[in-house]
């Protein structure tokens, strides 16, 4: 099911002190226009992501016979002649893998009937939708980020070993590979960052990354000055994902967990 387990062997050891290498990447950020619509056309569909980044909506136009597979409840509306079928995709093993990746066991399959049709998709929370075309490549998605894909993409859940275990933020990843179109979503805006060299993202803000990047979960370099673990715990930045290599990382600008932490004290207390 998975042929990439070798280079993903658990690496939970702490990185050495950051020597401030000058070869550090110079990530360019194309998202200064976070509110611009994203649109395009591929052999499988035509898409447009509008109302970014707060209330992003994805419109997909499908030609007759074309299929998309989507997370349940992502559909907002669709043409009447679109055929919708809910079911397990790729057998029980695959489905369990997806569940491990934080996704539902069930995947909805939309097939365009005669004349084609359109579907609107949106996420459960306020936030952004991002797009990635895979060409015989792979992408890792953070738990819950998956939205939909076209034919030709294989989704597998992936046990991250201690990498996932140590990151309290739940770095449980879903791996999408193959050739096709992939859409994913998150709370907050999604900013793509092109990494060359080294780059660090708080684990709670990682939405997706290309598998051309190596990664490991670690503490913020420098917070362990003279072995003072306390500065790590008190530093509050928690665990970070340290990427190296060349590839793209997508980060989200807000976290659901922060919102929950805000709302929690306002819950009523049990009377007994």
């Amino acid at each position: 099911m998975d042929d990439h387990s070798i280079d993903d062997v658990v690496e939970a050891e702490l990185v050495p002190e950051n020597g401030g290498s000058a070869s550090v990447g110079n990530p360019s950020n194309q998202a200064a226009d976070a509110s611009e619509p994203i649109c395009g056309q591929t052999s499988q569909l035509t898409y447009e992501i509008s109302q970014r980044p707060d209330f992003s909506v994805l419109k997909v136009d499908l030609a007759q016979g074309a299929k998309v597979y989507a997370e349940p409840s992502a559909m907002v509306s669709m043409s009447a002649d679109m055929h919708l079928k809910a079911g397990f995709r790729g057998g029980v093993g695959r489905s369990l893998g997806r569940m491990l990746g934080g996704e539902s066991l069930v995947v909805n399959t939309f097939t365009a009937q005669a004349g084609g049709g359109e579907i609107l998709f949106a996420a459960g929370a306020a936030g952004d939708i991002a797009y990635k075309r895979l060409e015989n490549s792979s992408l890792y998605l953070q738990r819950g980020a998956y939205m939909l894909n076209t034919e030709g993409i294989d989704l597998t859940g992936k046990w991250q070993g201690a990498k996932g275990f140590f990151s309290g933020e739940g770095l449980v990843l879903l791996k999408a590979s193959g050739t096709g179109d992939l859409f994913f979503n998150s709370y907050g805006a999604i900013l793509p960052i092109d990494v060359t060299g080294d780059f660090i993202v708080d684990t709670g803000y990682v939405v997706a990354f290309e598998d051309t990047l190596q990664y490991r979960v670690t503490v913020l370099p420098g917070l362990r000055t003279a072995g003072k673990v306390k500065s790590f715990f008190f530093g509050g930045e928690g665990l970070v994902c340290q990427f190296s290599g060349t590839g793209r990382v997508w980060v989200q600008t807000r976290q659901v967990s922060s919102f929950l932490a805000f709302a929690n004290p306002y819950r009523p207390t049990k009377s007994n």
Binding site: L191, D198, N264
Partner: protein, 227 residues
């Protein structure tokens, strides 16, 4: 400080570019992403400033975390991205010798020339509701990044201006203020839902936010399962 505000106004993050040797002090937990050429240091006081432990304790009571994170670039062109936890905007305010009083949870980041102090209790004492009515006083010369819940609206006060206390983000300390009731009678003020207001006088900048976190929390609370 070279910075860029992205995904405004509700999902805003600040992307800062730092040169070697440049330091930015951030609210603990605010870091979203960064280049690897940073030295990160956690202290209980503003860098280079006095105060240490006692100031740290005061900062804890003011709604900010006890510790501050200092990010010092060790290579040229290092990127640091920070963001607040709630939906809302970020704004920049530059200080040159004056002071800005910032609502407890709104301070996000500042450059090294700025001293962060919570000893300022001018407004805190005046409130008895106790809801995040604590304040941080930022003084010195440099840049400040401040976040809000909702959008930020800037008001240039010339004379007098009245603001609901839950909507104050920050104000220049050239402004004098008075806490009072919104209407002509106490009962009327509370029935009208406005409660306490702050009357600012003088000349200076005042920043207000479109939404008020406690109001939102009280709206959500009753709909959630009991703890």
């Amino acid at each position: 400080m070279q910075y860029d505000l992205i995904a405004r106004p509700s999902m805003t993050v600040a992307k800062m570019m730092l040169q070697a040797g440049e330091t930015v002090t951030c609210e603990v937990g605010a870091m979203v992403a960064m280049s690897s050429g940073f030295q990160v240091e956690t202290t209980s006081r503003s860098k280079g400033g006095a105060g240490g432990f006692r100031k740290g304790i005061k900062r804890m009571f003011s709604g900010e975390s006890y510790f501050l994170n200092h990010f010092t670039a060790t290579a040229p062109e290092q990127m640091l991205m920070v963001g607040p936890s709630m939906l809302g905007d970020i704004m920049h305010h530059s200080l040159s010798g004056g002071s800005l009083v910032v609502q407890g949870s709104s301070w996000l980041a500042s450059s090294t020339g700025i001293e962060i102090d919570t000893t300022w209790q001018g407004l805190g004492k005046a409130f008895f509701s106790g809801e995040s009515m604590f304040w941080v006083k930022c003084s010195g010369t440099g840049d400040l990044l401040i976040n809000s819940f909702g959008a930020i609206h800037e008001i240039d006060v010339r004379g007098e201006h009245v603001v609901d206390t839950g909507h104050i983000v920050a104000f220049e300390d050239t402004l004098q203020f008075d806490i009072g009731k919104a209407g002509s009678s106490w009962i009327g003020s509370f029935l009208g839902g406005e409660g306490l207001v702050c009357k600012f006088k003088g000349q200076g900048k005042l920043y207000v936010q479109s939404h008020n976190p406690p109001s939102f929390g009280k709206l959500l609370g009753p709909k959630l399962r009991p703890r």
